[in-house]
C-alpha cells in the first residue's frame, strides 16, 4: 500500500520525445561534429594519428569523421577545437553504414531506396513492436542503456514498443558488442528464429565497427559480418535517446516534419 503514493509523488517524469524535443543536459556528449574551421596539414595529420579508432580521414584538406568508429574520447576535440566539437545532438543513427560519416557524403539516392524498402517491410508492424536484445560481446554498458528504455523517463511502452523474452515473438533485434566468435552462432540462430518481417539494429560503435576492441582472434570487428544490419546506432555506449531515435527510425515512426526526426534542443 505505501508504494502507491510513492509512485505518484513526482508527477510525470516521462520524456515526450520524439513528439516534443527533450532538453536533456547541455553537457552530455552524444556525438562529435565537424565544424568548417581550418587546420594545417600537420595539425590534421596529428589528429588523425591520435584517434585511437582511426575514425578520422583526411582527403586533400577536408577532414571527415566516422561516427561508426568514434568512441567519443575527445582527443580530436582537445587538439583541434576549431574543427571538432562535442555535440548533444542524439539523432546520429542511419540506415547506411556510409552515412555515419560527417560531414555527410553527397546524397546519391541510395539512402532513400534503402529507407523505402525498410518502410515497406515494417508497415505490417503498425503500433505494436516487440524488441529482442542479444549481446554479442559488449562491455556491459550497452545493456544498461537498453534497459534504461523501460525506466519512467524513456518508457518505450508509451510508443507501443515492448521487450520480449523470446525471439519467436520479436520484430526487431537489437545487437550489442563486437561480434565475438562465441556469439556468432547463437546470434545467427536467434535471427533465424524470428518471424518475418524482421529488422536488425546494431547498437553502439562496437557492434558497428568493433570500436576500440576492433578485430582479433575472438572478435570479428562488428556484427555486420555475420548478419545483415538495417539500422546503425553509434555511441560508446549509445545513450537511451540515441536508441529511441534509432528504433523509431527502424520502424518508420519518426515524426515526418524533418528527415531525421524532431531534433533535440541543443541547450546552451
Amino acid at each position: 500500500m505505501p508504494w502507491i503514493p510513492r509512485g505518484l509523488r513526482e508527477g510525470i517524469v516521462t520524456s515526450r520525445y520524439p513528439w516534443r524535443p527533450d532538453d536533456y543536459g547541455p553537457n552530455f556528449r552524444a556525438s562529435v561534429t565537424i565544424d568548417n574551421g581550418t587546420a594545417t596539414d600537420d595539425e590534421l595529420s596529428v589528429a588523425v594519428g591520435a584517434c585511437p579508432t582511426r575514425a578520422i580521414t583526411v582527403v586533400d584538406t577536408d577532414a571527415s569523421l566516422d561516427r561508426g568508429a568514434c568512441i567519443l574520447c575527445g582527443r580530436c576535440v582537445q587538439m583541434l577545437p576549431q574543427l571538432f566539437q562535442f555535440s548533444s545532438v542524439i539523432e546520429t543513427s542511419s540506415n547506411l553504414r556510409a552515412r555515419l560519416v560527417v560531414p555527410e557524403p553527397e546524397n546519391d539516392g541510395s539512402l532513400a531506396a534503402v529507407r523505402g524498402e525498410l518502410a515497406n517491410r515494417v508497415k505490417v508492424l503498425r503500433r505494436s513492436v516487440h524488441l529482442r536484445h542479444v549481446d554479442a560481446g559488449s562491455d556491459g554498458s550497452d545493456e544498461w542503456e537498453i534497459a534504461a528504455l523501460t525506466n519512467p523517463v524513456y518508457d518505450v511502452q508509451r510508443l507501443g514498443i515492448y521487450f520480449t523474452a523470446s525471439p519467436r515473438h520479436a520484430d526487431v533485434l537489437l545487437v550489442t558488442g563486437v561480434g565475438s566468435a562465441g556469439m556468432t552462432e547463437p546470434l545467427r540462430r536467434t535471427l533465424e528464429a524470428m518471424p518475418s518481417p524482421k529488422v536488425v539494429i546494431a547498437v553502439g560503435v562496437e557492434a558497428i565497427s568493433g570500436g576500440l576492441v576492433g578485430e582479433g582472434y575472438a572478435s570479428s570487428g562488428g556484427v555486420g559480418s555475420s548478419i545483415p544490419i538495417d539500422v546503425f546506432i553509434p555511441g560508446s555506449p549509445a545513450s537511451p535517446f540515441s536508441l529511441l531515435h534509432g528504433i523509431l527510425l527502424a520502424i518508420n515512426m519518426l515524426p515526418t516534419n524533418s528527415p531525421r526526426g524532431a531534433h533535440m534542443t541543443d541547450a546552451s
Binding site: 552530455f28 525506466n151 566468435a181 560508446s236
Partner: protein, 499 residues
C-alpha cells in the same frame, strides 16, 4: 601509506607450495596470471596480506608446458588455471579439471600467449555441449543462455534439476570473450586507459583508476590530491549507480512494479549527474594516467545540492523497500554463501561482506585520495544470503554519499582550478607494476608492463571473474524461482568475467 608489492621468485616446482603457504598464513589469494616472456611463460600470483600485497613469481621454461597445480591447495586458483590453460596452453598438473573456461580453441596449437606481441589468427570455438552430472528419476537439464530472456549479457547456465531444486549448476562464460588483452598490446599507455574503461563497462571508473595506478607506480608519479578527490567522486557515483542497478533487478524479480520504477528513475538521475560532471554517463574520460582530465563541470555548490537531493529521495525509497515484507521474503535465506566459504575462497566486494568476510581495498589497502578521507569498514551482520548482500549495498550507498560530501568540501576548500595540477605527465614509462581499486563488484587488479610508453602486457582482473566461480556454490538450498534473485545479488558483469 600505500604499500606496493614485494616480489619473490621461486623455481617452478616450489611455486605452488610457496603460494599455498602464504594462503595458510592468512593471506587472501588474489589471482594467478601468466605472461609470455620470449618463449618462456612467467606465472605471477598475487597475495593480499592485511595492508600489503605480496607477489610470488616463477618462470615456466619453454618446452615444460606444465606447472604443479596450485588449485589442489588453493581451490580459488582453479578458474585462473583454466584461464591460463585456455590462453597459454600450460597444463596445471594434478588439477582434476582443466575444462575450457574463457575461450575454448578448437586448434590447441593456437594460443594468444599475451605478452608475446604475436598476432593470433581468428580462433575457432569448440562449442561441445556439456554432459549431465546428476542422475536420477526425472532429472533434466535446462540450458539457459547464452541468449537469455531479457536484456542481459550473454552467459550460459546449465541447470540440472528434478523440477524445482537445483542440485547442480554450471556456467559457461566464454561466449562474449573479445580478446581485450591482446588489443592492449597494440596501444600506448595513454590510449590503454580507454580500453581499460571498456573491459567491464559498468565499472569503467574503477578499471581506469586501477590501470592508471599501475602506471603511476611505474613512473613514480604521485597524483595531486585534488585529482585524487575527483577520482573518488566519480568512483563513488559509479558505486551508487551499480548498487541501484542491483536493487532495480531485485525489485523487478520480486514483481515490485513501483519500486522498479522508482529505483530505475534514481539510477537514471545518477547517470545524468555523471554526464553533467564529465560528459559521459559512465564517467569515461575522467581518469587519465597521472591524474584526471580536469575538474568537474559543475561547481561545488551545484554538486552538493544535486547529491543532497539524490540521497534524500533514494534514502526514502530504500527505507520503504527494506521494510516491505513481500520483498524481503524473497531475499531472506536465498542464495546463502557461508562465511567460511567466502573467507576460504577470498571472495570480493559486497558478496564477501554480506557473508561477514570484511575486505575492501579502499580501507585495507587504501589508495589515492581514500587515504585522506575518513572512512571505516562497514560491518554488516553476515547471514550470507541475498538479503545480507542487499543490506551491504544499501549501507554502501549511504557511505558513498558521505564520502562524496567530504570530497566536495575538500575540493571546495582548496584552491581553484587555476592553481591545481590536475594531471602530471607520464610518458615513455618502462617497467612492471600492479594497480588496484575497489569497484562496485569488489577489488579490481591491473598488472601492467610497459616499454618506453608502449604497453607490452596488461592483465585486468575484475572482481566479477573471481566471484563468478562462487555462483554455483550458492544454489543447493534454493529453487528455480530464486535464480533471478541470486544472480542479481551477486551483481556481476559478464564482460568482466571473460573479456
Amino acid at each position: 601509506m600505500t604499500t606496493y608489492p614485494t616480489t619473490y621468485t621461486t623455481p617452478v616446482d616450489r611455486f605452488s607450495d610457496e603460494v599455498a603457504s602464504h594462503v595458510r598464513s592468512g593471506a587472501r589469494f588474489a589471482g594467478l596470471f601468466a605472461s609470455a616472456e620470449g618463449a618462456d611463460t612467467r606465472l605471477t600470483a598475487l597475495l593480499s596480506h592485511s595492508g600489503s600485497l605480496v607477489i610470488q613469481e616463477t618462470v615456466v621454461p619453454v618446452g615444460a608446458g606444465e606447472f604443479p597445480a596450485l588449485s589442489r591447495q588453493v581451490p580459488a586458483a582453479k578458474w585462473y588455471e583454466r584461464e591460463i590453460h585456455d590462453l597459454f596452453g600450460l597444463i596445471p598438473t594434478g588439477s582434476d579439471r582443466v575444462d575450457p573456461l574463457v575461450f575454448p580453441f578448437v586448434t590447441p596449437a593456437i594460443r594468444p600467449r599475451f605478452g608475446s606481441g604475436a598476432v593470433v589468427p581468428e580462433g575457432q570455438l569448440d562449442p561441445t555441449p556439456l554432459t549431465a552430472h546428476v542422475r536420477g528419476e526425472g532429472v533434466f537439464t535446462i540450458s539457459y543462455g547464452p541468449v537469455r530472456s531479457g536484456v542481459f549479457e550473454s552467459i550460459e547456465y546449465l541447470v540440472e534439476t528434478p523440477g524445482e531444486d537445483i542440485p547442480h549448476l554450471r556456467t559457461r562464460v566464454f561466449y562474449k570473450h573479445r580478446g581485450v588483452e591482446s588489443r592492449f598490446e597494440t596501444l600506448d599507455v595513454a590510449d590503454g586507459v580507454l580500453l581499460a574503461e571498456r573491459c567491464e563497462g559498468v565499472a569503467s571508473v574503477a578499471h581506469a583508476i586501477a590501470y592508471c595506478a599501475a602506471l603511476e607506480e611505474m613512473a613514480g608519479v604521485e597524483v595531486s590530491l585534488q585529482a585524487g578527490l575527483v577520482r573518488v567522486l566519480h568512483a563513488e557515483l559509479e558505486r551508487v549507480a551499480n548498487h541501484l542497478d542491483s536493487i532495480v533487478r531485485h525489485s523487478e524479480a520480486a514483481g515490485q512494479a513501483v519500486a522498479y520504477a522508482r529505483f530505475s528513475l534514481h539510477k537514471e538521475r545518477v547517470q545524468r549527474l555523471r554526464a553533467q560532471l564529465c560528459g559521459s554517463r559512465f564517467g569515461r574520460g575522467v581518469v587519465v594516467p597521472g591524474g584526471v582530465a580536469g575538474p568537474p563541470a559543475l561547481s561545488a555548490t551545484e554538486v552538493f545540492a544535486a547529491i543532497g537531493t539524490l540521497e534524500k529521495s533514494i534514502d526514502a525509497d530504500t527505507r520503504l523497500l527494506m521494510s516491505t515484507p513481500s520483498f524481503l521474503d524473497r531475499l531472506r535465506g536465498t542464495g546463502v554463501l557461508d562465511e567460511d566459504v567466502a573467507h576460504h575462497f577470498g571472495a570480493l566486494g559486497p558478496l564477501a561482506r554480506g557473508s561477514g568476510f570484511m575486505d575492501d581495498v579502499r580501507v585495507t589497502r587504501a589508495y589515492g585520495a581514500y587515504l585522506h578521507l575518513g572512512q571505516q569498514l562497514l560491518e554488516v551482520r553476515g547471514d550470507g544470503d541475498a538479503l545480507a548482500r542487499q543490506r551491504v549495498r544499501v549501507q554502501e550507498i549511504t557511505g558513498a554519499f558521505a564520502l562524496m560530501r567530504e570530497v566536495i568540501e575538500e575540493l571546495g576548500s582548496r584552491g581553484g582550478p587555476s592553481s591545481t595540477e590536475w594531471r602530471r605527465p607520464i610518458e615513455n614509462v618502462s617497467g612492471r607494476a600492479v594497480g588496484w581499486a575497489e569497484a562496485p563488484q569488489g577489488e579490481v587488479l591491473y598488472l601492467v608492463e610497459a616499454r618506453e610508453g608502449k604497453l607490452v602486457r596488461v592483465k585486468p582482473r575484475s572482481a566479477s571473474f573471481h566471484n563468478m566461480a562462487l555462483f554455483p556454490i550458492a544454489f543447493p538450498k534454493d529453487i528455480l524461482t530464486d535464480f533471478a534473485f541470486i544472480e542479481a545479488s551477486f551483481g556481476l558483469s559478464i564482460a568482466g568475467v571473460s573479456s
